[in-house]
């Protein structure tokens, strides 16, 4: 790929930002004081303190598992390992990871059996279950997502996990690489003259012939990342307060502007667009379908993940739009 001067400039700028903004002094200060305690205040306002970096970590939500893998701390247990393998391909688990049950009701027995140093979950898990798990190990409760600051919440979650696992340097690298990746992507988008282009990011599924489309409104993590690339979110309206998602049917697509780039997540076993929608007159009447502006992203991008998923997403978006 030919790099424009602007791309190089933004790379330099991003690196400078990373070097000054993300290097911490705290970890060295801690290691000096002998039996170091690591402390993090989580999204409940609870203080999690460990006497040393956690190495045996159980993740009850996939975003936490992905962050751990990316930080080089292979989790000992993850909820719904089979599902993770399908949906979070950016940071695969190895076969040492134990399945601890469903994400809604993980098995506390299985977690206890792993004798973890730390358990990471989101605030979607019921409070009483969190109370129980706290008897085995400290529990870091992260807010899975927050539409008021999608990328910021993701970085905070990654940072908290990194602090507790003693991998702050790796986290800093992940963030700086991600920012560089975004800057590089933005430059490529600009070079292709696509900055300011409107996009619509969606996920879709069909059941019994009925098609549901899940728009990623403003504030959803990946639609915010796409905005960082210099694109403009074409979905008008609001999703839920955490994930920024909603649900519309095929008709709802007619609300999108005509000159849109339609970006969609795709699944392993074929997708709604080639199966159910191919012969749907509304779909084929849409201007962006007629102008061939529908782009299927790489399979297995977890929309609520961390830097690893975001890197794949950025590559996929840039490749789709510029090639």
């Amino acid at each position: 790929m030919k790099k424009s001067p602007i791309a190089l400039l933004s790379l330099v700028a991003a690196s400078a930002l990373v070097l000054t903004g993300c290097g911490t002094t705290e970890s060295t200060a801690d290691s000096d004081s002998g039996a170091a305690t690591i402390e993090v205040v989580d999204d409940r306002g609870e203080t999690i303190s460990l006497t040393g970096a956690a190495t045996k970590v159980v993740a009850l939500e996939w975003n936490a598992a992905e962050s751990l893998v990316a930080l080089g701390v292979m989790p000992t247990g993850v909820a719904d390992v089979a599902g993770y393998a399908d949906y979070v391909q950016a940071a695969p688990l190895d076969d040492t990871v134990t399945d601890v049950g469903g994400r809604g009701e993980p098995s506390v027995d299985a977690i206890a059996g792993l004798a973890p140093d730390l358990v990471v979950t989101t605030n979607d898990l019921s409070e009483s279950a969190i109370t129980q798990i706290e008897k085995i190990a400290p529990v870091l409760v992260i807010r899975a997502a927050d539409t008021t600051d999608g990328i910021g919440q993701m970085e905070k979650n990654l940072g908290d996990i990194a602090t507790l696992t003693g991998t702050e340097d790796e986290a800093a690298t992940l963030i700086s690489d991600m920012e560089a990746k975004i800057a590089e992507g933005a430059a490529a988008i600009e070079a292709a003259g696509l900055t300011g282009t409107t996009f619509a990011l969606s996920d879709s599924y069909a059941y019994n012939g009925e098609i549901t489309i899940r728009p990623f409104y403003k504030g959803a993590l990946l639609s915010d990342v796409a905005e960082e690339l210099g694109l403009v979110n074409g979905w008008e309206g609001e999703g839920d307060a955490d994930y920024g998602l909603g649900a519309v049917d095929v008709e709802g697509l007619t609300a999108l502007p005509a000159d849109i780039k339609y970006l969609s997540f795709s699944a392993e076993d074929g997708d709604v667009y080639t199966n159910e929608l191919a012969a749907n007159p509304i779909w084929t009447s849409l201007p962006f379908v007629q102008s061939d502006d529908v782009y299927m992203l790489t399979v297995g991008i977890w929309p609520f993940g961390g830097p690893a998923s975001i890197d794949v997403f950025v590559d996929s978006v840039v490749d789709s739009l510029t090639s």
Partner: protein, 658 residues
């Protein structure tokens, strides 16, 4: 007219004028596309489903000579849906029409089972409906178990078994329209036979009707139509009950309309009106895009449940009574009572120990001994510390439901009464979920209070409506079934509309679960039980007499009304406390008291403790299975009690026939 309004509603911004213009041929590409690919298929699906269910309902009613017969109350829809889901989760990809054939087989099997159970039971029997509804509940639970066992192949909202008429295209409608058409033609061809069936088997035979053949044709066509409707839209609840009911109401005023040649089309039209009306209402209340999230079936179920209640009220009070199920002729010696009680207690002890040992991580007896003596390792410690509240809450809730059931059965003198079947459990669930939804930070005590309010409201509605004509009448059960269906649909709607990604919440409040219970959450339930058990035991004489008849207690100087009211209040409180602790676990209050009576006779001094022990055993076993079968994942305990309890209910019905 309704169809026209229906066409104008949707998530796309299209004005009615544009739609009209494209209908009359003016070129407007996208509007036409919306009309052709989204609005019309949805409308056509509504018409198809409404027609099929309306006609199916009339056919089933005529054949069974029962105005409460319908694809829902005879379990046809539930059977068809279970078959469809079973095929899907086992990963068998079938062409659409073959899927419809599977639905037909499933629906037919369910209908055959229900009809066989009530065969020879005489005309107009309510037992048919009770058997059908219980089987429908069991099949529904089985469907949910399948969906939980194979989560990758199923999609969230459909786990709650509510159909929707939204369509991605016209292929589903096009495939099944001919099927429905054939069904309609056949139904219309046998209208004379159907008219004469209403006169009774003998009269119809004399008039030259082959009774058996007409009935068979009627049932087959009805199942065919329901299966087509389920294939297109999933189970859309109670349309097949409400539409024929309205048609018959009109027919009672219009001369000649009672003939099937007019009644069938009328029911078809009314079915369409109910389905489209529900869909239109949904979109008016929640906005144009709502149909994507809230399924049509939720609204029709609430609407139809009101009809079930209304029809039950119109039935003659004396028409049928469940009668003598309660006062068994068996005399049981005191020795036997004590022995059975001790045996049940011992069994509960075994079950409790087994429940503590089984689960995701299996323990051995030695671990338990170490734990009790405080010498266990940290993991065993933890596992038992988190598992023991679940085991205890299961036992307590089982005992509470069983006691509540025993009391309700005695007071209403109705062997089929049970908190879940009467809608009290559903009401408590709705109350608790409403509190959680409206006030997310509510503590456990407030949720319990919400459950109590819901339970009281449901109990007041059900018993208030059934009071005329006495509680012994099966009308009580029908009204309860209506209220519990409506409550379940309302819980679905609340959760889908406010917290659609939270499957665990929906499962707890629809199926019951002990997941994540901690010791402090047991307190309200434990206190309720500790207070209620002595109160009930001290009222054993009143319970015995109330269960016998109305006159004896009066003669013996017991004031019937206050005694009844007081006992019902205790049973409602027990139910609410149990539901707040573990969610909506059904059928325990039915199975445990009956089993107790079979073992120790009808005296409440023995029935109450033994029923409580048996209820505790039942829920403990169900919960342990749920924690163990697919570990580390979990199945809710309530699904397993329904799968066990509903057949028991049917067996009770079967036995009490003669």
């Amino acid at each position: 007219m309704l169809g026209a309004v229906h066409l104008t509603q949707g998530s796309a911004d299209v004005s009615p004028l544009d739609l009209f213009a494209s209908l009359t041929g003016a070129p407007a590409d996208q509007t036409t596309a919306i009309l052709v690919a989204s609005r019309l298929p949805r409308l056509m699906a509504g018409v198809l489903v409404g027609t099929a269910l309306g006609v199916s309902g009339v056919l089933l009613q005529t054949v069974s000579r029962n105005i409460l017969a319908s694809p829902d109350t005879l379990a046809v829809n539930a059977g068809a849906y279970l078959a469809v889901v079973a095929v899907t989760v086992f990963g068998i990809a079938l062409p659409v029409l073959a899927g419809g054939a599977v639905a037909f087989v499933g629906g037919l099997a369910a209908a055959a089972l229900v009809l066989a159970l009530s065969a020879g039971g005489g005309a107009g029997t309510i037992r048919l409906i009770l058997a059908g509804s219980a089987i429908a509940l069991a099949l529904g639970s089985a469907t949910t178990v399948l969906l939980l066992l194979f989560p990758e192949r199923s999609i969230g909202l459909y786990a709650w078994g509510q159909g929707s008429i939204a369509q991605g295209g016209s292929s589903g409608v096009e495939t099944f329209a001919p099927v429905v058409l054939v069904g309609l033609v056949v139904a219309l061809a046998v209208t004379r036979g159907l008219d004469l069936l209403a006169l009774g088997d003998d009269t119809a035979s004399v008039l030259g009707v082959n009774v058996r053949r007409t009935q068979l044709v009627g049932v087959l066509v009805a199942v065919l139509l329901s299966a087509a409707a389920v294939s297109v839209a999933g189970p859309i609840g109670f349309v097949g009950l409400a539409a024929p009911a309205i048609a018959r109401l009109i027919a009672a005023r219009v001369p000649g309309m009672q003939r099937h040649i007019l009644l069938l089309p009328a029911a078809a039209i009314l079915g369409v009106i109910v389905v489209l009306g529900a869909d239109v209402l949904l979109r008016i209340v929640f906005g144009g895009a709502a149909g994507v999230e809230v399924p049509t079936g939720v609204v029709t179920t609430i609407f139809g449940a009101v009809f079930l209640v209304a029809l039950a009220l119109r039935m003659r009070a004396s028409s049928e009574s469940a009668g003598r199920g309660l006062v068994g002729g068996r005399t049981v010696t005191t020795r036997r009572r004590v022995l059975v009680g001790l045996a049940a207690a011992a069994l509960l002890l075994v079950v409790l120990v087994g429940s503590l040992l089984l689960g995701d991580s299996k323990l051995l007896g030695g671990d338990l001994v170490n734990w009790v003596t405080g010498r266990s390792g940290p993991i065993v410690d933890f596992v038992l510390e988190t598992r023991s509240p679940r085991v205890v809450v299961a036992a307590l809730a089982g005992a509470a439901f069983a006691l509540a059931g025993a009391v309700v059965q005695a007071v209403s003198r109705n062997p089929l009464a049970e908190p879940a079947i009467l809608g009290v459990t559903g009401g408590a669930g709705l109350g608790a979920v409403s509190v959680i939804t409206l006030w997310p930070v509510a503590g456990f005590a407030v949720v319990t209070a919400g459950g109590l309010v819901g339970a009281v409201v449901a109990a007041v509605v059900v018993f208030g409506l059934a009071a005329r004509g006495g509680f012994a009448n099966n009308r009580l059960i029908l009204i309860g079934l209506g209220v519990s269906s409506a409550a379940a649909a309302a819980v679905s709607m609340l959760i889908i509309a406010t917290d659609p990604y939270n499957g665990a919440k929906a499962l707890t409040w629809l199926s019951g679960s002990t997941y994540g219970r901690t010791a402090d959450q047991l307190v309200p339930l434990a206190v309720t039980l500790v207070v209620a058990l002595p109160v009930l035991l001290s009222a054993r004489r009143e319970l015995d007499l109330l269960a016998f008849d109305d006159d004896t207690p009066r003669v013996l100087g017991i004031r019937i009304a206050p005694a009844r009211l007081g006992l019902l209040v205790v049973s409602v409180i027990l139910t609410a406390a149990a539901v707040s602790a573990v969610g909506a676990i059904g059928f325990v209050g039915l199975v445990a008291p009956h089993a107790a009576r079979a073992l120790v006779g009808a005296r409440h001094s023995a029935v109450l403790p033994v029923a409580a022990l048996l209820g505790a055993i039942l829920v403990c076993v169900a919960d342990t299975l749920g924690r163990t079968l697919i570990a580390p994942a979990q199945l809710p305990a309530g699904l397993l009690t329904a799968v066990v309890g509903a057949p028991y209910f049917v067996w009770l019905l079967w036995r009490s026939r003669r």
